[in-house]
């Protein structure tokens, strides 16, 4: 059976299940509230699932339990202060949150970070991707019932976090990116230690591959579950590994690079044709490996020079509008910055990846079984802060 056939079949199966639910003898359904306090929602997402037996008739995510109103808060803060806030959007890959905002501001100011800063920025960007996805690889296993992989994930993510902390001073909230460059240069010995950390991450990937990905039970639980056809995924705004797992070969890092130096290294965008939960896991696994390779190559070629371009001490961004998006760990994250030439942005629209990624769940969860809700949510991989902002 070719892959496209399999994809079609599982899609048809999902639709058939949907129809079956409606046709079956009228039984009184049950409404199950998954969350907001629930181990699988890692945070406070609530899913109201109408069940018929163990089958989902309709599912409706309810969020907002963590809404912090960053778009409003950003309007009363100066540009350097905004990065402190947006650090907290996707807290597992914090540095990556800062980059698109800073790039948008830089675009409006028409300044460009010196090459060394761009290089280090890209390294930290990829490190935060590794820190983020590493946890996914363990967490996905927890969602389907294996407890041990997540401890491996926490154990080995630590190596990356240590490197981020050694360079930026913050494990989770670096606040290291500045308009026109970076806050500080790298400390001595950092490059060698980071290389070592990358080796450890690759070993972790091998372990997870054997422990989780190759496991027949894991495959039985994830293959064919939650199939997203590419056009549906795109129209819902899915990005990142979620859409690449549906066979869409699109990566902002490669296709519209902006301010980061991914075009200077040799790497590959991984896609998977199946579009199911396993494919999403698989793509993220490859992406972690690829990120370690990107970091290794970048570490070899960090140019010397200053890390800050010439920017005024008091940053006033000229009037204008700019939208910059980058390929963050969770998917495409973009900031639409409207400036009126003041100290503070006039309006910041935050396009966060998880918000769009999760918006497909009402469509996706129809007709699946209760255990598959968890598999699908786990494989879509969201961070609550990234949904609620």
């Amino acid at each position: 059976m070719t892959v496209t056939e399999r994809q079609q079949l599982s899609y048809i199966a999902a639709q058939a299940a949907d129809a079956r639910v409606n046709l079956e003898i009228e039984t009184e359904g049950m409404t199950l509230n998954i969350g907001p306090q629930h181990p699988a929602t890692h945070g406070t997402l609530r899913i109201v699932a109408k069940l018929d037996g163990e089958q989902v008739v309709a599912a409706e995510p309810v969020m907002g339990y963590m809404h912090r109103g960053y778009e409003k808060l950003a309007e009363v803060r100066t540009y350097p202060q905004v990065t402190t806030l947006i650090n907290r959007i996707d807290w597992l890959g914090s540095f990556a949150n800062e980059v698109p905002f800073i790039l948008a501001a830089e675009r409006l100011m028409e300044v460009e970070a010196p090459p060394r800063a761009q290089w280090i920025r890209t390294i930290l960007f990829e490190l935060s991707r590794i820190a983020n996805i590493t946890l996914f690889l363990g967490d996905m296993a927890v969602q389907v019932g294996a407890i041990t992989p997540v401890f491996f994930a926490f154990r080995d993510r630590e190596h990356v976090l240590n490197q981020i902390e050694a360079a930026t001073g913050g494990r989770f909230h670096p606040n290291f990116d500045r308009i026109g460059g970076l806050k500080d240069d790298l400390p001595a010995g950092w490059v060698a230690e980071t290389r070592q950390a990358m080796r450890k991450i690759r070993r972790f990937c091998d372990e997870i591959e054997e422990l989780v990905e190759g496991n027949e039970i894991f495959q039985a639980r994830t293959r064919g579950i939650g199939v997203i056809p590419p056009d549906v995924g795109l129209s819902y705004g899915l990005t990142g590994a979620n859409i690449r797992a549906s066979g869409v070969d699109w990566d902002v890092r490669r296709d519209s690079p902006c301010g980061l130096v991914h075009d200077q290294v040799d790497w590959k965008v991984w896609t998977h044709p199946d579009g199911d939960s396993f494919a999403r896991f698989w793509v993220r696994m490859q992406e972690t490996r690829e990120a370690t390779k990107i970091v290794d190559q970048l570490l070899d070629g960090i140019p010397s020079g200053p890390i800050m371009a010439k920017v005024p001490v008091i940053i006033k961004v000229p009037a204008g509008e700019a939208y910059v998006e980058t390929e963050n760990p969770l998917g495409v994250m973009g900031y639409y910055v409207v400036s009126k030439g003041d100290l503070n942005p006039f309006r910041v629209k935050i396009r966060s990846a998880s918000f769009s990624n999760v918006s497909i769940t009402p469509w996706l969860l129809k007709g699946v079984y209760v255990p598959d809700i968890i598999t699908i949510l786990g494989s879509l991989y969201f961070i609550l802060g990234d949904i609620d902002r």
Binding site: T168, G169, A188, G214, S304, G305
Partner: protein, 180 residues
Amino acid sequence: MSLVPGLVKGLKVTGTTVVRTVFPKRGMRTLMPAPSKGAATVQYPHVKEAPPTRARGVIALHEGNCTACMLCARECPDWCIYIEGHKEKAPPRRAGGKPRQVNILDRFDIDYALCMFCGICVDVCPFEALFWSPEYEFSEPRIADLLHDMSRLSEWMETVPEFEDYESGSVAKKLKVPPT
């Protein structure tokens, strides 16, 4: 499809980890169980991990350098720094010079309950009066005690480490922590 089922491979991974954790040493003393060395965790109150030099643990105040210029209080995104000061005459630096006017710091409080540890205050300080210390053990049972006053902030100065050297290729200038 490989010959060895994934289930067996999985058991191998967890099994190996047990052996690696219990017998971390290689070679002669392999059979000495030493889980406390093999484990990735440390027994926190007994053993402490040293955070890196740059770690943003707590903000230390170099009282002598502060001129109460208010920059940090203004740039703080959380408004968690409170400064009060007044102007005073100080004796001239050189004999025969005019007396100088100096800002005397009356109050310098940081409310760590509000602080987001972003480091903007440390960055914007033009007089090298604020420094990061990697110290992290300052939690309090009462939230009000998280407001560190001037003397407490000055005490942290002792824990501020020297700045590190930069990685090769850097043209940044290494800063020095002023003596207290």
